[in-house]
């Protein structure tokens, strides 16, 4: 059991929990304490030093929104946001309770009438915004993967396609999301004219912008992975005269999986970074919009709240990366090391 937990932790790259688990199971204490110090102790000390410098530095800077908040204030603001979330949830629950009652009463009075439960229109809480951001980034990431992997495979397999597409890739790869956004906005606005469609327009714009920016690492890595498949595997496929589709699904894709997932990992990281900028400008109700709104709001809480958002973005980004590392490791058939 312990071994299993430890293996899982090591596999997902959460190595610093391992000594704690060992300690909890009563393995050699002195040894494990040393290990805890080596893995997490040093990191915690560094973080504390960072907090100290921050707190000292912050109190000396005055902005138009008051003093730059220190760690304590940011922590308070974070708790405030969590409290707000629960308050809002309680309000919503109450609203729906009232609605149900109202509908039931109306039905009693006039059974034939069609009464519906009205939708709650309270403002999204901080956690709703994180959720929206996550949905948006994964949508964009999915679009990017669906485009990048097939094109990458074709590029890797065929030198002519690679040569043909390489100028486009080289030119569009370094373009910043902010530059894409107006174009995407105009095009989406022109094409997506149905009101009250399945998705919000701002959501589509953000997702497409994310896709456009996170496309490239996945595409380039896939192409590289496919192009550098062991020649022996290709020879096997040639001797067997495999069909193109069999060759792609049984040999090419599995052989280049480690590369593809290394690329997807970078893509998701880029996508998450791009998303914040895209949401700010496209006004998609996510973390980016939260930061922008707080910035425009300019209350004495704003700076601290933005810092809460910064930490949230960092932590979510970190977990997204862990997920990709785990996936990457699980498809690495040759057990080559995956950089943490």
């Amino acid at each position: 059991m312990t071994d299993r937990i430890i293996k899982t932790l090591e596999f997902t790259g959460l190595n610093w929990f391992v000594p704690l688990i060992r300690l909890a199971c009563g393995e050699d204490r002195a040894e494990q304490f040393k290990a805890v110090w080596r893995t997490s102790g040093i990191a915690i000390v560094t973080f504390l030093i960072f907090l100290a410098i921050w707190s000292l530095g912050a109190s000396n800077i005055n902005t138009s929104l008051g003093r730059v908040p220190g760690p304590a204030q940011v922590f308070r603001e974070a708790r405030g946001l969590i409290d707000e979330h629960w308050e809002e949830r309680a309000k919503r629950a109450e609203f729906y309770k009232r609605e149900k009652q109202r509908v039931a009463e109306k039905k009693m009075k006039s059974p034939g009438e069609d009464v519906r439960i009205r939708k709650y229109t309270g403002k999204p809480t901080y956690f709703d915004q994180i959720r929206t951001s996550l949905i948006t980034v994964f949508t964009g990431f999915l679009i990017a993967s669906l485009i990048a992997i097939p094109i990458g495979v074709l590029c890797g397999l065929n030198r002519i396609i690679m040569t043909a597409l390489s100028p486009l890739i080289q030119i569009f790869k370094p373009v910043s999301p902010v530059a894409w956004l107006p174009i995407v906005t105009m095009i989406v606005s022109a094409l997506y004219t149905t009101r009250g469609g399945l998705f919000e327009k701002s959501f589509i714009i953000s997702a497409i912008t994310v896709a456009l920016c996170s496309l490239w690492p996945a595409l380039i890595n896939t192409a590289l992975g496919v192009a550098s498949i062991d020649k022996d595997y290709i020879n096997v496929s040639r001797v067997l005269q495999l069909k193109f589709s069999t060759q792609v699904f049984k040999i090419v894709l599995p052989a280049s999986m480690p590369y593809i997932f290394a690329g997807l990992r970078i893509s998701l990281g880029v996508g998450w970074m791009v998303l914040i900028a895209a949401e700010m400008l496209a006004q998609n109700p996510g973390l980016g919009k939260f930061v922008w709104d707080e910035f425009q709001n300019g209350s004495s809480h704003s700076l601290a709240r933005i810092m809460v958002a910064v930490f949230t973005i960092g932590v979510v980004g970190f977990f997204l990366d862990r997920i990709m590392v785990t996936l990457h490791k699980s498809v690495s058939f040759n057990h080559e090391p995956v950089s943490a």
């Binding site: 020879n235 001797v239 067997l240 599995p254 999986m257």
Partner: protein, 281 residues
Amino acid sequence: MAFLELNNVSKAFGEGKNRVTVLRGINLAVQEGEFLVILGFSGSGKSTLISLIAGLFKPETGEILLDGRSIQGPGPDRGVVFQNYALLPWMTVYENVALAVNQIFPKWQHGERIEHIEKYIEMVHLTAARHKKPAELSGGMRQRVSVARALAMQPEILLLDEPLSALDALTRGTLQYEIEKIWEQDRRTVVMITNDIDEAILLADRIVPLEPGPDGARLGTAFEIALPRARDKKKFNSDPAYRHYRNEITRHFLELRSAERSGDAAEEFLLPDVNPVRVAV
């Protein structure tokens, strides 16, 4: 007409000044059911030759005929056992063999195919390990999977590209016997490449030396090995017939070496004319 025929085949790599001819004017005829071994130094173009027969390379000049048909590309009628096994590491032993069988016998019933796959895995004694991945197997086991995969294709000719060169001496010895035993069962035509004289004598009906030359390697005069089957390596040292073959082949290769040496003697470095002085300590 021979089963496999190479007529004036040559092959070069590179462009312009860097162009290197690897094989020149190769003529070879292999009879049906024959076990032919091509023996050569490392780097003499042995693997290129087998790749040409497999159809993985196209010859510069000349043509290769299998059963009268000209070889234009690779195909399942020529089963190849690659030097580095070339197993797909994300597939189990069973799946590696199944990939070949499903591709080549698509019209067979499902059960029939499973039986066929299991039969060849059994033939190389890997039934117990059939759900393991190549990374979990030893070098010898991996090479056996590779042999099983090639045999399960039921090719008209089996091409073995230094199949045992990456193995340790003991595993090598065991696998040599296994290859001979498997070959005895259905006497398929085999072309094998090796750099091991004993291995060649143990397995071959005929040994053809691949002789390096300044403008590409050529095939030398063949040695017919008239030893009775099944040959026992343990008896080799005391068997005069075997020793005769070994001496003859070894002498042949040594002569090749010295001919090569004397050929480029002029390029040898001049050593400084100094003698070591004995220093008392």
